[in-house]
């Protein structure tokens, strides 16, 4: 077994006079890092105030820098130490300190909502106890955290964005309306001109007819009748042509829509497999997204050793079955990752 180097937090823990105090310090630092609108100096001062009675005997600087780096291994180690060594009273006092650090003179941030609840679960503090503790310390009830994955949250917290969006939409609508009005006017003007022309033509023809009337009065009645009939037929033909064109246009639109729908359907059917699967496979091996191939191989070897069914040979058959199920899962995840990497 090769021995890896000790991480900064492990060294700190080994040097500390009281491991629980050091671990609690890191967890409080983690809460402090997630407070908004606070400077680094204020954070350190606050941490020093709250933990004045701790007996760790080292500087706060390294703890805060570890908390800033959000090193999950360190936080996990601290959580394990705290869980192992805290009595009931001690865990209540740690909860007390965490709430103080998370909220004093300000609202609790969303991340801290979840961190406090994580600490409460870690320290076996029941929800009702946490609620009363919070109420006593801050004078406000502990509400469930808001949900920024919903639009309602942003409508409440970012009204400027929505006001701007509404304004833009209104402007767009107005512009569109103006454009439409203009187009209509143009069309009407064109139609008017057309009618005038027609009237003029008719007048001209009438004049001609009058001249012709002078020539041949007897033929007048018939001539007028034929002319009228002719005009009616022409109008009917124009109407028919217009209808035909509209029908053709509608048909073309429908076809386009159907084609689009088909395309859409095709795209939906051939959607790629969710990238989520890689994340889940990595999680089975206890890795985070972005792990390298060597990491995967190493994690697989360790997990395979840990969960190999042969290890449970001396225990009950049930244990062996459970282990082989686990082993199969690990092996599947590993095979999938080796294919994709």
């Amino acid at each position: 077994m090769s021995i890896a180097r000790f991480s900064p937090f492990e060294l700190l823990l080994l040097k500390s006079r009281s491991q629980v105090d050091t671990a609690t310090l890191l967890l409080l630092g983690w809460v402090l890092v997630h407070r908004q609108h606070v400077s680094e100096g204020q954070r350190r001062r606050r941490l020093a105030q709250v933990t004045a009675q701790f007996r760790h005997g080292h500087e706060l600087g390294p703890v805060m820098s570890i908390a800033h780096s959000q090193d999950l291994h360190a936080i996990q180690l601290a959580a394990e130490v705290v869980r192992k060594e805290c009595s009931k009273e001690r865990s209540l006092s740690v909860m007390h300190q965490a709430i103080t650090v998370a909220t004093d003179d300000g609202a609790i941030s969303l991340a801290n909502h979840y961190i406090l609840r994580f600490l409460a679960d870690l320290l076996n503090v029941a929800p009702s106890t946490l609620a009363t503790l919070f109420q006593e310390l801050t004078g406000k009830p502990l509400r469930p955290p808001e949900d920024p994955s919903r639009e309602a949250y942003w409508q409440a917290h970012d009204p400027e964005h929505y006001a701007q969006k509404a304004k833009e939409a209104a402007e767009d609508a107005e512009r569109e309306k103006a454009a439409r009005a203009q187009a209509e006017q143009q069309q009407r003007a064109k139609a008017d001109k057309h009618q005038e022309k027609k009237q003029k033509q008719q007048e001209k023809q009438q004049q001609k007819e009058e001249a012709r009337q002078a020539k041949a009065r007897a033929e007048q009645a018939r001539a007028e009748k034929t002319h009228e009939e002719h005009a009616r037929a022409e109008r009917a033909r124009a109407e028919y042509a217009r209808q035909e064109q509209a029908r053709r246009e509608r048909q073309r639109q429908e076809q386009a829509r159907q084609e689009e729908a088909k395309h859409h359907h095709y795209r939906r059917a051939s959607s790629p497999p969710p990238p989520d699967r890689t994340t889940r496979a990595l999680a089975v091996l206890g890795l985070t997204p972005g792990a390298s191939k060597t990491d995967v191989r190493r994690a697989y070897r360790r997990m395979a050793q840990l969960h190999h069914p042969d290890r449970f040979y001396s225990e009950s058959e049930h244990q062996v079955a459970l282990a082989s199920a686990r082993f199969q899962r690990i092996k599947n995840a590993y095979d999938y990752l080796m294919q994709t990497y």
């Binding site: 077994m1 021995i3 890896a4 000790f6 492990e10 823990l13 080994l14 997630h34 959000q70 999950l72 291994h73 936080i75 996990q76 180690l77 959580a79 394990e80 130490v81 869980r83 192992k84 969303l110 991340a111 979840y114 961190i115 609840r117 994580f118 409460a120 679960d121 870690l122 029941a126 929800p127 946490l130 955290p145 949900d147 920024p148 994955s149 919903r150 639009e151 942003w154 970012d158 964005h161 795209r267 939906r268 959607s271 969710p274 990238p275 989520d276 994340t279 889940r280 999680a283 089975v284 091996l285 206890g286 985070t288 997204p289 997990m303 686990r326």
Partner: protein, 143 residues
């Protein structure tokens, strides 16, 4: 809070184009609306991503500490951010292992230091003597 990336089958570092395609593909209209309100607006997405990162960390911690079924871990968050809990490797046990290993190495070194020192001194002395003898014999040979 829900994990919109997971629900849209996206990676958390997806770009705008991938997001818009996933949103267009999504069949749930409410989810589509929320995703456009949160992920398509840069400042909203930034805030969401920060919290998403923290929550993924907490989910991972809970999985490793066996707290995926805690009383305070319920609803959407627990649904979307929980991981399979069977890879519980105790960091504290690991630390204890490593410290005990280091201690045993140190003890072995302390115990074997005497004999090893004697052997080293003897070999170094023998080496120097040999080298000297060789040089002298070469000198005589030349002279």
């Amino acid at each position: 809070m829900r994990d919109l990336y997971q629900r849209l089958a996206l990676a958390p570092d997806a770009n705008d184009h991938q997001i818009s395609r996933a949103v267009a593909r999504c069949a749930n209209s409410a989810l589509r609306q929320d995703a456009t309100a949160v992920l398509a607006v840069a400042p909203h997405r930034e805030t969401y991503d920060t919290l998403h990162h923290t929550l993924s960390d907490i989910g991972r911690l809970r999985a490793r500490l066996g707290l995926t079924h805690g009383a305070h871990w319920q609803g959407d968050v627990a649904n979307d951010f929980s991981l399979p809990p069977d890879n519980a490797i105790s960091r504290h046990d690991e630390l204890v292992d490593r410290v005990s290993h280091a201690v045993s190495l140190y003890n072995r070194w302390r115990r074997l230091r005497g004999p090893w020192l004697l052997i080293t001194v003897f070999t170094v002395g023998a080496g120097i003597g040999l080298a000297l003898g060789f040089a002298l014999s070469l000198g005589f040979g030349v002279g």
